[in-house]
Symmetry: C2
Subunit: 341 residues, 2 copies
């Protein structure tokens, strides 16, 4: 998607600018607060595809041509991501984020483990408050800002609900319906539903169109998670940028594994339950789990569900009257997610 | 203050109502989310004097007579407090909050220490998002809501800055100026400055009056912290509801101790530095520290500063034209804080 590179630069510029303003305004409090803002800025600028802010921009462009204001607003979802990831890294005991130390690890080096944890909590909280400011400081009308803030808040709130379900131990008897609920709360909400709501709110989009676009967003968001699950077990490390055994080692609660447990034999089920989620699992056992996933039909089931979600998503908007640039992006994005698998 | 009891009931009613609505709306997601909201509600309803929301109400009543809308909005500061306390309790390793288990302790019982910590982070985050909703759901105009939200966000953001300074180890060479900066960020911001800003924003108060009231708020907020420090070392446990040696055992970074270290002899200084902040400190050593604090003149210094802040605060508003009910409350509140010592 040629748009992505171009808009990524624009988003990065706006995000950097926002964080520089914070730095020059709030560094006056103390050296340590200056350092905290610098760490938060470095974390935010580590990269990533910036697909979510770009989706805000193009949801807006489904209704409006002007784009300067919306680029400034779009960074809210990156600040949200930083907030969520910083807290997630504590919760998941992750030491690294995009190849560099997780936030709590940066501070752990200074005064030990508990200080690292404490500063991780606070740095995440700070990104959260910056997120609201990023909307407040734009040039939209008060009503538009308030609507956008209410969707930003809705998005982050649902993420917290989703995360609280995701960290519950055990998935032995978890049903497809429960997994899809977690996927909706944890992935679709901030990957696609939130961005679409925020872009539409700032464009004063009509309700009926927002509803259709939301259905698109739901489907694409779930599809995005499904390809992540499938790739997380069957891709090559160099393709997905993380070890392909990490989902299995971490015991990730996926539709793929839930479906496998539903479809496989009793013996295979106890084998998987005794191995899944163990860091020390052997290469041979991982291979065996992959084999069971394929043999059970769970792999094909999830693959088919994935394509279904993509098509359902596209169908929601294909006949919808939207401005060309915006609509074209939404369709291309669906195909982009399709091609991730 | 006879107003406090009456308005406390009104605030409790509004807060309970808000949380019940969340429960009936969001319980549908799952049993575990229902339980999370119930835990958050129980935590919020544990009590407390509700002085901060009442201050929002009376800041508003300095300009407007109507009060129904403002009571609903005032609960934002209680939700903020819950958010900050839940995260603080993790950071400070506190097991109890108002005589009941801290949030992370509630969840620790379920699936162990790390799960408790994780759910504590998420429950705090959730209260934070509820805080914005509590303003969004009121009946104020969009512009009033947006202004209030921007002050809510300012308040919470500064709290995070303050907290990040407060948890830095060491206070050997910390100056009065640095301590007052922490007091401003950590205490005055959400005890008085934030509530005054929020109440004034929702009342569309004129800028010049807000400025004066802010100076009042700064002074009363710092005074509030100073009496807390003095009482924390010299009061009786039954008067302040916590052990009077806990400030010394926890090594609380107070003006009282900073001033003592500045004024006492070199020998006394090394004695204090070797004992302050140690949980296992003996009763005799605590007595000795109390003696040094008094002898050094730090106690009298802080007491005088305390009265100064109270008087300075009152002087900022004594000649200001404000509606009678509101102004009377502000003056009474200053006297109330004065009488806490």
């Amino acid at each position: 998607m040629k748009n992505i590179e171009e808009y990524k630069e624009k988003v990065n510029y706006a995000l950097k600018n926002f964080l520089n303003n914070k730095l020059s305004k709030d560094s006056r409090y103390s050296e340590e607060i200056k350092e905290l803002i610098e760490n938060v800025a470095e974390f935010n600028m580590r990269g990533g595809k910036r697909i979510r802010p770009i989706l805000i921009i193009f949801a807006y462009k489904c209704f409006k041509d002007e784009e300067h204001k919306i680029i400034d607003a779009s960074i809210c979802i990156e600040l949200m991501q930083a907030y969520l990831l910083i807290h997630d890294d504590i919760i998941d005991n992750s030491d690294l984020r995009r190849g560099k130390p997780a936030m709590h690890k940066i501070y752990e080096k200074k005064f030990g483990k508990h200080f690292g944890l404490s500063m991780g909590i606070l740095a995440g909280d700070l990104c959260n408050h910056y997120m609201y400011d990023s909307i407040i400081e734009t040039k939209f009308s008060d009503t538009e800002k308030l609507n956008a803030i209410s969707y930003v808040n809705w998005t982050a709130n649902r993420e917290i609900y989703g995360q609280s379900l995701d960290i519950l131990p055990g998935f032995e008897e978890i049903k497809e319906e429960d997994i899809l609920k977690i996927y909706e709360l944890k992935t679709a909400t901030y990957t696609s539903q939130g961005p679409i709501y925020i872009g539409c709110a700032l464009a004063d989009a009509p309700k009926d169109k927002i509803e259709k676009m939301q259905k698109y967003a739901y489907n694409i968001g779930i599809a995005f998670q499904l390809q992540d699950d499938l790739n997380g077990v069957f891709s090559k490390e160099e393709e997905i940028g993380k070890p392909v055994d990490s989902d299995i080692k971490e015991g990730k609660k996926t539709l793929l594994i839930a479906k496998t447990l539903e479809l496989c034999s009793k013996q295979e089920k106890s084998f998987i339950l005794s191995k899944y989620g163990r860091q020390e699992i052997s290469e041979a056992d991982i291979k065996e789990i992959r084999k069971i996933i394929k043999k059970s039909g769970a792999f094909d089931y999830c693959k088919n569900r994935f394509y279904e979600f993509i098509e359902n998503g596209k169908n929601e908007i294909i006949n919808l009257q939207l401005k060309e640039d915006g609509k074209k992006f939404l369709i291309e994005l669906a195909d982009y997610v399709k091609n991730l698998f």
